[in-house]
């Protein structure tokens, strides 16, 4: 491959909030094909701020897709192992795209975004649900592959729209709801974890979903790119809210036990080994009718060779992706992501471990630069989730 081609392939794009981040003193790095803020004040300070207050994250690199059509739910169910048809309007669910061989193509959030159309008394029409619509948020680095996969396999009667004129902002932390409620006059008061609604904030049409990637209560707000800066300014004017970079996003999600695509889950890992069975609705797990079911059912029946687990590591030296895990002299696994937990003030990691040794409490060793570190299989999340589940 010539150098020009490589430059073309590796072209780095900018996102709608690029100038905003730079104005806030962010250090920008290439990530998923975009210039992204890795940090502002420092990863640990930003991490702790999010756990204590509320952090604002720009996740506009992620793919926002809308799938519409009368048959949208049943078509999506051919590709996603979760129950989509029974997902109520205004509800969100974690799901996966699975390949024929059972490998995970991506993980995603799917929301039933079917609009409610108000009735008109004068015309004598009653309120009704509009055309079925499903809002998908997929990983930034995978979105082009996901779009190609969806276009190839979804029926032609279903329309796939890439909402590439939209930014995506996450507001995460115990004070996220307080801040957002103050700014938007209690609009999110009745929302619980995994609820989603559309809200016109002045002239800004927003979609607000009570979800996130930190383990904290929080929201993800989809906003037309042209209003993204104003929205971030408005939110950061609240005393609880500060901008947070990708570095803290990674340490927060690791503590929350949430897998990172391309590291903890890949096309070479299946949902059973990845310990993501909760994304496979029980009924659909048995009945199938989705791509990859046969392969996944076989792993379920035979049991996976390895499982994704958490590791707590002794001392202060972090074990990073690629570090090998041992039981005595035998290599029994590999770290897929790891780092230093600012909340627990100790190194933690996710690893794939031979199933026989994957039970909580099993004593293992991790090798880092020819040193063996003591490690123990730990329950995830490492730091408890604090989602707002309502009563």
């Amino acid at each position: 491959m010539s150098e020009e081609n490589e430059t073309f392939e590796d072209e780095i794009h900018t996102l709608p909030l690029d100038a905003w981040h730079r104005g806030k003193g962010a250090r920008m790095v290439p990530f998923a094909g975009y210039e992204m803020p890795i940090q502002y004040d420092g990863i640990v300070a930003e991490h702790n701020w999010t756990r204590d207050q509320a952090g604002l994250f720009d996740v506009s690199h992620m793919g926002q897709l809308m799938v519409t059509g009368e048959k949208a739910a049943e078509e999506l169910e051919k590709l996603l192992p979760g129950a989509i048809a029974s997902l109520k309007p205004g509800r969100t669910r974690y799901s996966l795209l699975v390949a024929e061989d059972g490998g995970i193509l991506d993980d995603l959030m799917v929301t039933n975004a079917t609009p409610w159309i108000e009735g008109d008394e004068e015309e004598g029409t009653e309120g009704r649900w509009g055309e079925p619509a499903y809002y998908l948020v997929v990983n930034g680095a995978m979105k082009w592959d996901d779009i190609a996969h969806l276009r190839e396999h979804l029926d032609d009667d279903v329309t796939l729209t890439h909402m590439d004129e939209h930014a995506l902002i996450a507001l995460q932390g115990p004070n996220a709801a307080t801040a957002l409620n103050r700014v938007m006059r209690n609009v999110i008061d009745d929302m619980v974890f995994m609820d989603s609604l559309v809200h016109d904030f002045g002239e800004w049409p927003l979609r607000i979903t009570r979800s996130g990637y930190t383990g904290e209560d929080g929201f993800e707000i989809s906003v037309p790119a042209e209003f993204a800066e104003s929205l971030c300014d408005r939110l950061c004017a609240e005393i609880e809210v500060r901008p947070i970079g990708l570095g803290a996003r990674d340490s927060l999600r690791l503590e929350a036990g949430l897998p990172l695509y391309g590291h903890d889950i890949t096309e070479k890992t299946d949902p059973v080994s990845a310990d993501l069975l909760f994304a496979l609705t029980k009924k659909r797990r048995e009945e199938g009718g989705w791509m990859g079911h046969e392969a996944v059912a076989k792993v379920l029946a035979d049991g996976p060779a390895q499982k994704r687990v958490g590791l707590e590591i002794e001392g202060r030296l972090p074990a990073r992706e690629g570090a090998l895990v041992y039981s005595g002299d035998k290599q029994v696994g590999r770290v897929t992501s790891g780092g230093f937990s600012p909340t627990l003030e100790r190194p933690i990691a996710m690893a794939y471990i031979d199933t026989a040794l994957a039970q909580e409490g099993t004593e293992l060793e991790v090798e880092v630069r020819n040193k063996r570190l003591s490690a123990k299989v730990a329950r995830m999340p490492f730091v408890p989730h604090r989602y707002h589940r309502g009563k």
Partner: protein, 123 residues
Amino acid sequence: MARYFTDEHEWIDLEGDTATVGITDYAQGQLGDIVFVELPEVGSMVEKGKDAAVVESVKAASDVYAPLSGEVVEVNDSLDDDPALVNSSPEEDGWFFKMTVSDKSELEGLMDDKAYKSFCDGL
């Protein structure tokens, strides 16, 4: 005492034949929150430009290269308990190790304070 700087963002204080080595304020700012420093063993030989220490930040591990060749004669034990010293006092209390200087000609080409400052300004 003379202070020298490398283009790998290390500083060297030379006193007689002994050099104290650390990383610069610019370097700690780039690395971010430091959670662990792996120092060479006392008595080990290090070679200019080769790995001598490893700095682990929350995000990543980074190698620190020996700025000169020689023998490590002392390491900063306080970094074991408080690796964040490298963030709070990189050019004083957060020093890494002391070493003998086997070949003083290796000091040629290193920067002084002023040259290093303009080097950083150009980055």
